[in-house]
């Protein structure tokens, strides 16, 4: 055991002392933080491709001005401009598209454009037109005070989700948060297992190619060397992960305060003027929001934050650690066995595919799990030990019955022990075998060699 700790120490220190470790450890959270901050910022404000859309309706002027401008597009009513001529040269006139609303069939307007128009634009057009057509048709019934009636009946529905546990206690939750957690949990698991598993493999190949292993196995058992390396790399992974979590949280906090300080004031004033303007143009919601000092985004954010805190964090964190350790041990031992069987890194290609497929499959199923966490596919893949670390992490934020977690974890433990045992047998023979073309069949043979 003492020798294993000597090996773990070396494996850990040589990796942590590398410059690339330092660079990765510092750069990755910066990248993550900028993704977290900048991506939403880009999605909100970044889409600066401003579009002008010409609206024509053969001069009928019923619905031509009914479509309000959006952040991305202005709708310019050209009345009875010549339709055919416009379709020919709207591009050179600076228009993105031509929207033709035929007075005879207002339900099926036609959009002429050079490129496929984005779905958001279509939704905006059809939404605005539908409202306006409904309003026009209602007007035909000559109802008194129609405007105020419409103002009253207009509404918005926002479902609030509450989870009821066995004790009957209700907790407000957010499906969005659950999805985000499922995504992050599944993806980070995939990344860590794959990245550090591959590091184990490279380490084994390095020892074999440089023939260091010949010297070492006269002092320690091959399985000790293998486990020392696997555990050492796991500790490197955990160290890096912890630093990432701390640095990412710090970087997010700093960036957020910087970004929010800059945009907060302008954002709030923008929001107020915008809501005033929209009130004039379209009927405001019945329960008009009181003009508070907190911007709606901030209110939304703090609500999301509360919902996020309502997640079962101890369960998520404990299962993450459990699945990381067992899943990593399972795959790292397979990677170690592969590394021991080959003579150089290029030879690993043929073995990588069968190992990669379950991991990728797990990731794909995990993505599907976010749409439907209860599907049989998600259930089975969260039981099969090769995919369960990734898929189960994606399911847990949505709530999983205890017996399923226990079953999945038990299967995982049994399987990872079996894999480590088999990998150790292959490894023991493989590291001392040179010039033999490695294959699955050959590895199966080594598995059955006696001590």
């Amino acid at each position: 055991m003492n020798k294993v700790s000597v090996i773990i120490k070396r494996e850990y220190l040589t990796r942590v002392r590398k410059k690339s470790f330092l660079v990765m450890t510092i750069l990755a959270p910066l990248l993550m933080a900028s993704l977290i901050i900048i991506m939403p910022a880009m999605m909100v404000t970044g889409n600066k491709e401003f579009k002008k859309i010409a609206v024509i309706d053969d001069g009928a002027n019923i619905y031509g001005t009914a479509i309000p401008d959006t952040k991305d597009a202005d709708f310019i009513y050209l009345g009875n401009a010549d339709k055919n001529a416009l379709i020919q040269n709207f591009d050179s006139a600076g228009y993105y598209a031509v929207l033709y609303i035929s007075p005879k069939s207002e339900n099926s307007p036609i959009i002429y454009s050079k490129k496929q128009p984005p779905i958001m634009l279509l939704d905006h057009i059809s939404g605005s037109l539908e409202k306006e057509i409904e309003k026009t048709r209602l007007l035909q019934y000559n109802i008194e005070n129609l405007d105020s009636i419409l103002k009253q009946i207009r509404t918005q529905v926002v479902p609030v989700t509450k989870i009821v546990d066995e004790a009957g206690k209700q907790t407000e939750t957010s499906t969005g948060i659950a999805m985000a957690l499922a995504y992050i949990g599944g993806f980070v698991m995939y990344m860590l297992v794959f990245m550090f598993g591959a590091q184990v493999m490279r380490g084994v190949i390095e020892e074999k190619v440089s023939r260091v292993v010949e010297v070492i196995v006269s002092s320690v058992k091959p399985v000790q060397l293998m486990m020392g390396k696997i555990i050492g790399v796991a500790l490197v992974g955990l160290t890096q992960f912890m630093i990432w979590v701390i640095l990412t949280m710090g970087a997010v906090a700093v960036l957020k305060s910087v970004v929010l300080k800059k945009t907060n004031m302008t954002e709030i004033t923008q929001n107020i003027t915008q809501s005033v303007m929209t009130e004039n143009q379209t009927p405001a919601p019945a329960s008009a929001t009181p003009a508070t000092q907190i911007s709606p985004e901030m209110a939304e954010f703090s609500k999301l934050f509360d919902n996020a805190m309502n997640q079962n964090w101890p369960l998520i964190i404990l299962s993450f650690i459990f699945y990381f350790i067992t899943g990593y041990l399972l795959y790292a031992s397979v990677f170690a066995a592969i590394g021991s069987a080959v003579d150089n890194e290029t030879e690993t290609q043929q073995f990588m595919l069968p190992v990669t497929i379950p991991i990728i499959l797990g990731l794909i199923v995990a993505m599907g799990t976010m749409q439907n966490p209860e599907s049989p596919l998600s259930f089975w893949f969260s039981m099969i030990p090769l995919t369960s670390p990734i898929v189960m992490m994606a399911r847990i934020p949505f709530g999983v019955p205890a017996w399923q977690i226990i079953l999945s974890m038990s299967l995982m433990v049994v399987t990872f022990l079996a894999f480590v045992w088999m990998a150790a047998k292959v490894y023991r023979t493989g590291i001392l075998m040179y010039g033999k073309k490695a294959s699955w069949k050959e590895m199966w043979k080594w598995l059955r060699y006696t001590g």
């Binding site: 000597v6 090996i7 040589t14 440089s210 010297v215 070492i216 006269s218 006696t450």
Partner: protein
């Protein structure tokens, strides 16, 4: 009592027999040659001694007691295919290997300082291994093999990669180790160094022992009644019924003659005969080199 003994060791890899009922017995403070062509099974036997693999059948004894896993601490092994972590610093790496052999860190550093000084390597301590030449790396490996003062040391081709000066340094260190009480198993293809260093040998071919014993005995046994004779001047020796002349050369005012006895004649009688023909400078039994014996034995078996 021999320091190390292997009795009837057999090892199979699938259908392939790597060792077939091989036994060796290594006396204490002896340099024991383990010889054989490539693929004969030497490395497998060495790996079994180091407990890297286990035999399918057969027994191993160290100091008369069955070999135990803890015994790796009293064995030193310099493999033929050997390497170091290229990115590590020389000193750190040497300490690491010593720790794997069970030496405490402080003690390892103390002993390493001694050896680095002795072999003139003090400047290398803080360098990276990849900065060293192959010969320098071999020196580091030699030290890490013997640092824990093993009772049994196994050298597999220890001289490859060394220049003659360093090879001689290492040879002297090996002899010095034996002087201090170590027993050495020495595997090589270099027969000159076998003659020079080894007391006993075992020759393995195709998984089987085909020759064993002390180097001197083996060489006299294979001498086949041949003698080398050197005489002054250009002298022609004639064979008689009792001995034949195999070859005669005259150069540098000397005649060199190889003769082979065919009947039961004593060396005194031969000398008596030849003294009549000329002035004798030397007369020696013509011992075959280990190289010749190796080739003859292996070829006769194939």
């Amino acid at each position: 009592m021999p320091l190390f003994e292997a009795k009837n060791v057999t090892k199979m890899f699938g259908d392939f027999t790597a060792l077939d009922n091989v036994s060796i017995s290594v006396p204490e403070r002896c340099i024991y040659g383990l010889l054989g062509p490539n693929g004969a099974g030497k490395t497998t036997l060495i790996r079994i001694i180091n407990q890297i693999t286990g035999p399918d059948s057969g027994e191993l004894f160290l100091n008369g007691k069955k070999l135990k896993p803890e015994d790796v601490a009293t064995i030193g092994y310099l493999p033929e295919e050997r390497g170091l972590y290229r990115k590590m610093k020389v000193g750190e790496e040497a300490v690491y290997f010593a720790q794997l052999k069970g030496l405490p860190k402080a003690e390892a550093i103390r002993r390493l300082k001694y050896w680095f000084k002795k072999l003139d390597m003090v400047d290398w301590w803080g360098k990276k291994v990849e900065e060293l030449s192959k010969g320098m790396q071999q020196k580091v490996q030699f030290i890490t093999t013997i640092l824990h003062e093993p009772k049994l040391i196994i050298f597999d081709e220890p001289f490859t990669g060394f220049d003659p000066v360093n090879a001689n340094t290492i040879k002297n260190e090996i002899l010095f180790l034996r002087e201090k009480g170590a027993t050495i198993i020495f595997s090589t293809h270099n027969m000159a160094s076998v003659e020079e260093l080894c007391d006993n040998i075992t020759l393995i071919n195709k998984a089987k022992t085909i020759l064993e014993g002390s180097v001197d005995e083996i060489r006299s046994k294979w001498a086949a009644n041949e003698y080398d004779l050197i005489l002054h001047g250009d002298v022609k020796i004639q064979g008689n019924g009792q001995y034949n002349i195999l070859k005669q050369v005259f150069e540098n005012d000397r005649s060199t003659v190889r003769l082979k006895t065919v009947s039961d004649i004593s060396t005194n009688e031969i000398l008596n005969n030849i003294m009549k023909s000329g002035k004798i400078i030397s007369f020696n039994p013509a011992l075959p080199s280990m190289n010749e014996i190796f080739i003859r034995v292996v070829e006769s078996r194939n």
